[in-house]
Symmetry: C2
């Protein structure tokens, strides 16, 4: 492998001048510039990125921690993050935590080992207390999931409002016995539950504890939940699914069990993923502007990376809205 030294020698110049050409610095005559380009081409030279990173003390890479890529929510979020990242010459290092505390902590170390310049958390397995110290090593942003104790910028949606909207829609469609599927850990999950219960409360509807499910969201979980519901003595007439994937699983299994949707049981999803409109009946859902959330997040990351002074602790909240389809 050719080094900058080799290029310098072949061009009959110093390393400094070659470096200037590589980095587009001023004060290099056109003639020498050409000499350098020629030598680089002849030697098939490419700057060693580790050396550059070491010297420049930055990597132009941002770590993005996601629970899993097989949950389509996250690829869409990454889509948004990447658009703005690319615009700003940043690379993404996508890390799957698979809901594992240790993996999450290991990935946070990327910041300490200077392998990335900043880090974006889209979920959170560990306590905030154990995350906070990592802020010392570089900018951290929370996106999607959030914590009220978190002393970092947060880009999120109003989950209370989102689930409130969903629940309200179910109620206004005549349902009084509504099951709830959510996630037990995380403030996002807690807020959704709050919003859901707020809607019930507003309409003086009682909740039955047997109708609360807190599995990790997946198609399989949806199927399981539907089966459990069918086995109950007192069955709900509607289900608030925590995600479109759960909703899809519920619908599929319900039809398998011979139920009509929404007549026998109504279902409302969350996210508005492609699968929502593919289902039969198509899934009414609470739409999250996923891509926009990603873009906004990366914009903030970029500004943190440039104006280090302005320590931003804002909470950015993006709009959330109900998409009516056929399942309610």
């Amino acid at each position: 492998m050719a080094t900058i030294e080799d290029v310098a020698k072949l061009a009959g110049l110093s390393r400094s001048t070659v470096s200037r050409v590589i980095n587009n610095h001023p004060y290099v005559t056109e003639r020498k510039k050409q000499l350098v380009y020629q030598a680089m081409k002849e030697l098939d030279y490419y700057p060693n990125s580790s050396a550059q990173r070491l010297r420049k003390q930055k990597t132009d890479t941002i770590a993005v921690l996601v629970p899993s890529l097989t949950n389509p929510f996250f690829p869409f979020l990454i889509e948004g993050l990447e658009i703005v990242a690319v615009e700003n010459g940043l690379q993404l290092l996508i890390c799957q935590t698979h809901q594992n505390k240790d993996k999450e902590r290991n990935y946070l170390q990327l910041l300490q080992t200077k392998q990335v310049d900043g880090l974006i958390l889209t979920s959170l397995e560990n306590d905030w207390d154990s995350i906070a110290p990592f802020k010392e090593s570089g900018p951290i942003i929370m996106c999607n999931e959030y914590r009220s104790e978190a002393t970092v910028p947060v880009v999120r949606l109003d989950q209370v409002k989102g689930s409130y909207l969903g629940a309200k829609h179910l109620i206004e469609s005549g349902h009084k016995k509504i099951a709830y599927c959510g996630n037990n850990k995380g403030e996002l999950g807690a807020d959704r539950e709050t919003g859901f219960l707020a809607a019930l409360d507003e309409y003086n509807i009682e909740m039955n504890n047997q109708w609360i499910f807190r599995d990790t969201p997946s198609i399989e979980a949806g199927k399981r939940i539907l089966r459990t519901i069918l086995s109950l003595e007192d069955k709900p007439t509607a289900i608030f699914a925590g995600s479109d994937e759960v909703g899809a699983g519920i619908i599929k299994e319900a039809k398998l069990q011979g139920l009509q949707i929404p007549e026998d049981i109504a279902v409302i999803g969350f996210d508005d993923l492609p699968v929502a409109q593919l289902m039969e009946p198509s899934l009414t859902t609470v739409k999250q502007p996923i891509k926009e959330m990603g873009q906004k997040t990366m914009e903030i990351m970029v500004s943190m990376l440039t104006n280090q002074d302005k320590v931003n602790e804002d909470v950015i909240e993006l709009p959330i809205q109900l998409i009516k389809r056929e399942s309610v």
Copy 2:
């Protein structure tokens, strides 16, 4: 940020000894080892990864080029790759080419700039001729997509057989007028077409050129294709969809247009993604062992990284099989 020098000073030892402790080298007394650990802890020291990479001349990172993460096929493939990568202390750098030649070429440069030790191609936009030179800079493997000219290890499925199986199933279900959706670029696409046509040939069935579609696979493409088919004078009675996503789009749109599946039109997918079993009717499909393909690929990468001598140019072919559901 503390450096190894700081640790050495605090522990009253040399950099060499500290380095030995970090890298678990022999010949360090337990007592000094403890001194080092203590100093590292006190200074909150973490080795700078750029410095390590520069000195060690390796990154323990593998680039994985995928067209897009929003096509669920690739997250599943990554799942497989990651399992074996983690087992071997390797990190993945996931790169979305978005079907863009320039992006693909840029990502290949990761190899030349020594940002990664190896690279896995799961799709291919550029000609092989323009890819070949990159082999000089590190091991490259093709996985999923392939090229007969490619002089690198290839892990793939027998696509000819896969589409043959699919077409045969349609034919044996009584269909004689079968539309084909595929991808024009890439050998994978070409082989699928070959297998498809071979089945027709075997049963002496003629193909109508109007029934061939070569859009990039997506739900939207599926919908479009179905609409086009409906507008044809001579309509096929079955569709071989290039992927489950296309198949899903076709089914959805067909039902929207009031068609019965499989009575009015039969559909067969490819991949066996979760969406296949969610559809109503569930999608008969050609199952690809995606995760296994990922695992096998990374195993080969690991062996290339260790035994550099043994330049492996094998083609590994994994089994492919038909999953019968309701859409045919």
